[in-house]
Amino acid sequence: MTAPVTAQRPARAARGTGRAGLLVRPALIGAGLLVLWWWAGSQQLDSIEARNVNGEVIGSQVLEHVELTLICTALTIAIAIPLGIAVSLSRSRAGRLVVLSLGNLGQAIPSIGLIVLLALVISIGVGTAVIALVAYAVLPVLRNTMVGIEGVDPVLTEAARGMGLSRLAVLFTVELPLAVPVILAGVRTALVLTVASAPLAALIDGGGLGEGLFTGLTLNRPVISVTFGVLVAALALLADWLGLLAETSLRPKGI
């Protein structure tokens, strides 16, 4: 009677290719952006295109996009990790079921539907966009926090309890440190999900790279939509890479 739980696996990539492997990704992203810059520069831009594809507009939209992502991810972590810990600590099957079902629900609704629906219910604007994006990204972090804690070898918790550590001390000295790789894998997934879904915020006046993207689509200006589309993809890849870096450097030594 438990909800199906499949957790994102922690990264192992850095193991196989060594530390140098971590440098391949940013090099590829940089090369992609260079190609984009060269291609956009070689196009004959009309006035609408020139108004959208220029450093100032791109810069401010990238900034908005990053801001939106950071706020959403911070909120996601602040909600999902404590909630996951609480559910794991309570050992309540019902609590686990409810929380995971809600998390699943948040993710099962298509993000575009969720954003528009919330805009109708609440109002348009950044706040609503944040709520929708957080609702969408909570599940992976929540699920991985629970799975990470529950995945700690019961022998270790028994040894810790047996030596006289309190339930809370066991959580902080044994369970959470050992769950870090799994939790971080969830955070990385949430981060990428948020970066990639954040363009939808523009639909309800939430700002970000979605503005340029949708402008290009509605006005049928491929130069604009391709430029902003590639930028979103590059940001998502970059976010994933940063997550990978965090996983590699924060993984506890000795395991």
Binding site: D153, V155, L156, E158, A159, A160, R161, G162, M163, G164, L165, S166, A169, T173, V174, P177, L178, P252, K253, G254, I255
Partner: protein, 333 residues
């Protein structure tokens, strides 16, 4: 240093009518166990899998709460204590060892002392002292558990249990997961260590030979942890209470009895003035001596104070004496 390894001596543990009943089960898991575990002794609980020996042990440190009955340590009713405080006074060693993989050896051993508020230098000194006590090099302190072999890890497990100098230790099949040679090593070292620390130790195993070797006393348990016999190894071998206990002893009971008897505890005859007799050290057991006699085809061996050809000869042992020892006459243990 404020405390030495032998700081706190063992305390007496007393179980009175201790019962554990799980809800929804007709039979109790442990039924009305009463026993006194004398201070400073190793008491082995031995019995088949599922007989409740581990449950009985875990009720002493309250990882499992008894349904009824009382348990006292040094006269204090443990059920009146805060469970976490209570467990800090009891070393706990388990078969799977359970070292924390993300912590260095020094942090595994020093975890509890640190939480008890010991100063950094005192913890470091304690870790060094314990590593030496369990026979590990000092530089292992900086290693992670996965860098150690199974036997080395269990030594750290024992050191960790001793860290805060508890008067009582619980050991749940501590050497069960190691290969026979390592197990023999660990057992011998543990007995040596126990001679120094004199803790009260409750030791759980399903291996009767291990029980004979490790225990000052053995409690042979039936299902539901009912005590079939509780006595010294010698007394159990000499007079098993019933067929159940006898079935534990199994074949070779006489040889097992001889294995418990050290040559130093046997009356030796004066050494004959004959050359070329096989020699054996006084630390060996009568069984070792018998083995030597059979191997060398000699019905007498010389007992020496130490190894080597020029060691002092303390006396001689005759096959006749060995047979008497098996019958329970010659020994004065």
């Amino acid at each position: 240093m404020p405390e030495s390894i032998t700081g706190r001596p063992g305390e007496t543990i007393e179980l009175t009518d201790v019962t554990k009943r799980y809800p929804g089960q007709a039979e109790p898991a442990v039924e009305a166990v009463s026993m006194v575990i004398p201070a400073g002794e190793v008491v082995v609980l031995v019995g088949p899998s599922g007989c409740g020996k581990t449950t009985t042990m875990k009720m002493i440190n309250r990882l499992i709460e008894p349904t009824s009955g009382t348990i006292t340590i040094g006269g204090t009713d443990v059920l009146t204590l805060d469970p976490d405080q209570h467990r800090r006074d009891i070393g706990y060693v388990i078969q799977q060892i359970g070292l924390f993989p993300h912590k260095r050896i020094e942090d595994n051993i020093g975890l509890l002392p640190k939480r008890l508020g010991w100063s950094r230098s005192r913890v470091r000194a304690r870790v060094a002292e314990l590593l030496e006590l369990v026979g590990l090099p000092a530089d292992y302190a900086r290693r992670y558990p996965r860098e150690l072999s199974g036997g080395q890890q269990q030594r750290v497990g024992v050191a960790r249990a001793l860290a805060a100098d508890p008067p009582v230790m619980l050991m749940d099949e501590p050497f069960g997961a190691t290969d026979p040679i390592t197990r023999d090593h660990l057992q011998n070292e543990f007995l040596r260590l126990q001679r120094e620390v004199r803790k009260t130790i409750v030791f759980v195993t399903h291996d009767f030979d291990e029980a004979l070797k490790m225990g000052d006393r053995i409690a042979v348990l039936r299902p539901r942890s009912v005590i079939a016999q509780y006595d010294t190894p010698e007394a159990i071998l000499a007079a098993p209470a019933d067929d159940y206990v006898a079935s534990f002893i199994g074949a070779g009971g006489q040889l097992k009895k001889l294995a418990l008897l050290r040559l130093r505890d046997v009356e030796l005859a004066p050494a004959p003035r004959v050359g070329g007799l096989p020699r054996i050290v006084v630390d060996a057991t009568v069984r070792d001596a018998l083995d030597l006699m059979l191997g060398e085809g000699s019905d007498v061996v010389l007992v020496t104070g130490d190894f080597g050809d020029d060691a002092e000869v303390l006396g001689s042992l005759h096959l006749q004496t060995v047979m008497g020892a098996a019958a329970g006459k010659a020994g004065n243990p």
